[in-house]
């Protein structure tokens, strides 16, 4: 059952009925809204204006848009300076390059310096598609969540990305938002609440055996899987863990205490990612049998987004197969 208080789309399991958009689009909208609300909001880009949606901001606020060229290390240092001075910079590129290329600049000039730079990592995950392994960031959750002071958010759909963008614009903290290129169903609505650090149980079963904790596009796929498994008598609940840092230890612990087995699902390496973060919590507070849906210690490759999502098990079917194997 979907959780009614969350005001999700009223025909949520009818995928064809849902609008589709990439989380980068919701981010692009949110950034313009944030800039309308606050003069201090700025956008910095490293030669990827269109694909990060920075160009929407640039059209409206050309004087607050800064182009740094293909120079992600400088991108981050300049953003740090702007934030230190009192601006609210959003620094964007592909996640493979930022935070991929400029991790140390993020560590020292943003996180340790503790200035409110918003780091926008676009084109994360294998769903980037034909560009191949070099461009498919699968390590960024790990490298960002390990940094003290850093907030890490992985929106589950375009609308949540919009709200998350507005939230990090005002949180006065170093923040990382992870975005995808592929269009995915928008299953939340304007009325769906969003708060950094507050996970949502989007699908609730009676006496669930399995609890899925998912982020990004895997949240909706997990809901579809839960609905189908429920029909086969396998009760599954699903949590959208869009804030990976700070971790809501209490809610994760309570969620796990009501199930036999926790499955985490993310378009990221299983080592160090969201699943690992959940495991760190559960090992301390509620040791639970766990298994991980993610990239199993390998890089991605070229292909269409759909082919790759299917190949690596990041679909409803992949999740169902994984769970049945766990129960067998």
């Amino acid at each position: 059952m979907i959780t009614t208080e969350l005001k999700l789309h009223n025909d949520v399991f009818n995928t064809d009925a849902l609008d589709k958009a990439a989380t980068r689009d919701g981010f692009g909208k949110g950034l313009v809204e944030a800039a309308e609300k606050d003069q201090r909001v700025m956008a910095l880009c490293a030669d990827l204006a269109e694909s990060t949606r920075a160009h929407w901001f640039k059209e409206k606020f050309p004087e607050r848009y800064v182009e740094v060229g293909v120079a992600e290390q400088n991108l981050m240092a300049v953003a740090s300076g702007l934030a230190n001075y009192g601006k609210i910079p959003f620094a964007m590129s592909y996640a493979a390059f930022s935070p991929g290329r400029n991790w140390e600049q993020i560590r020292s000039t943003v996180a340790l310096n503790d200035v409110p730079v918003n780091i926008v990592g676009a084109h994360a995950g294998v769903s980037v598609g034909p560009d191949g392994a070099t461009h498919q960031a699968l390590e960024d959750i790990a490298t960002m969540r390990v940094l003290p002071n850093m907030i890490v958010v992985v929106p589950a759909d375009s609308e949540e990305a919009r709200k998350a963008t507005l939230a990090i614009a005002v949180n006065d903290k170093p923040s990382y938002i992870r975005l995808a290129r592929a269009k995915t169903p928008i299953f939340t609505t304007l009325e769906t609440p969003f708060e950094i650090g507050v996970p949502q149980i989007v699908y609730q079963s009676k006496n669930p055996r399995i609890g899925i904790i998912a982020c990004g596009s895997l949240v909706y796929q997990s809901m579809l899987a839960a609905e189908e498994l429920g029909k086969e008598g396998i009760n599954v609940s699903v949590m959208n863990l869009s804030t990976i840092k700070p971790m809501n230890e209490k809610m994760i612990t309570e969620f796990a205490q009501n199930v036999d087995h926790i499955v985490t699902a993310e378009e990221h390496q299983i080592h160090g990612g969201m699943g690992s973060a959940v495991a760190e919590v559960l090992a301390q507070h509620a040791p639970t049998k766990m298994s991980f849906i993610g990239m199993h210690d390998r890089y991605g490759e070229s292909g269409s987004p759909d082919e790759l999502l299917e190949h690596f098990g990041f679909t409803k079917k992949g999740i169902i197969d994984h769970i049945k194997k766990q129960l067998a």
């Binding site: 030669d47 204006a49 182009e67 293909v70 034909p130 560009d131 070099t134 461009h135 292909g303 269409s304």
Partner: protein
């Protein structure tokens, strides 16, 4: 070079352009402008300049070609296929699931690809490392490193430039694809690069500027680079992005999109006309 030889190489460049258009249309994504602009350079590298053996790709004495601007790899794949590294039909698998022709080059996917690239700015350092190693072993091969011009925004490039000059790596030649475009527009609008020649000179490099569509000039520049024994050389090759297809030449919007089926037809027709022109020009 004889006129006949130049004609052959220009025709090879034309074949490479045809394959680029063909494979990109099939792939439905990928980069068109850069590869078309570098086709003359690649025809010269694979069919005239480099020591290499398509049937023995790991030959220890081969020259190394480092493609730092990995997004332009269709031009390398096309040149390799025409040189006999793999069947030309395989070009149609570009960017597809399971293909050896990954969207950005993968060292382990396809024999003859020297290194994985795509993330910009790191080729020159890898090339310098290879050149340094070769010199230690008193091996006589040469390392060529191609970079984009927008790519020169990357700080890494200049760290590597300093290193190569500091160590007098004369067995390393950088070739800059000076096509004046990058993703967000003209290079001089995105991040000013000029005085580019002065920058390389001040970093300790020998600099030669050429017309990147003039194969004779390119071959001469490489010969000069190899003759210079005390410093690395940077060849700034002035090219036209999208070269060969008038309607897309110099349009930065063509940095990262493929032709549609309809455009493909039109473009291939234009390349057939160009082929005729090459044949006519050199038979006079």
């Amino acid at each position: 070079m004889t006129d006949e030889r130049i004609k052959e190489l220009e025709l090879k460049a034309n074949d490479i352009r045809v394959s680029i258009i063909d494979m990109l249309e099939d792939a439905g994504s990928g980069h068109t402008a850069g590869p078309l602009g570098m086709s003359d350079l690649f025809a010269a590298l694979y069919f005239e300049i480099m020591q290499h053996d398509p049937k023995n790709v790991d030959w220890a004495e081969r020259d190394r070609l480092i493609l730092s601007n990995g997004h332009t790899v269709p031009v390398r794949y096309a040149a390799m296929a025409h040189a006999g590294y793999f069947p030309i039909e395989e070009l149609k698998t570009l960017r597809k699931f399971g293909s050896r022709l990954q969207g950005h080059p993968e060292r382990h996917a396809l024999p003859g690809i020297e290194h994985t690239s795509g993330p910009l700015g790191t080729g020159l350092g890898q090339a310098a490392g290879m050149a340094f190693g070769m010199r230690l072993d008193t091996n006589k091969q040469h390392v060529y490193c191609i970079t984009g011009d927008g790519e020169l925004d990357c700080g890494n490039i200049w760290e590597s430039a300093m290193f190569a000059a500091h160590h007098n790596l004369s067995n390393l030649t950088a070739i800059v694809d000076r096509n004046n475009i990058q993703i967000n527009g003209a290079t001089e609008n995105v991040m000013k690069l000029e005085d580019l020649s002065g920058k390389w000179t001040s970093f300790g490099w020998h600099v030669i500027e050429i017309d990147g569509h003039n194969i004779q000039q390119f071959v001469d520049a490489v010969n000069q680079a190899k003759a210079i024994q005390n410093k690395p050389t940077c060849i700034i090759a002035h090219t036209i992005p999208g070269k060969g297809i008038k309607e897309i030449e110099n349009e930065f919007e063509w940095h990262g999109k493929p032709p549609t089926a309809e455009e493909e037809k039109r473009f291939l027709k234009e390349l057939r006309t160009l082929r005729g022109k090459i044949e006519a020009t050199h038979s006079q």
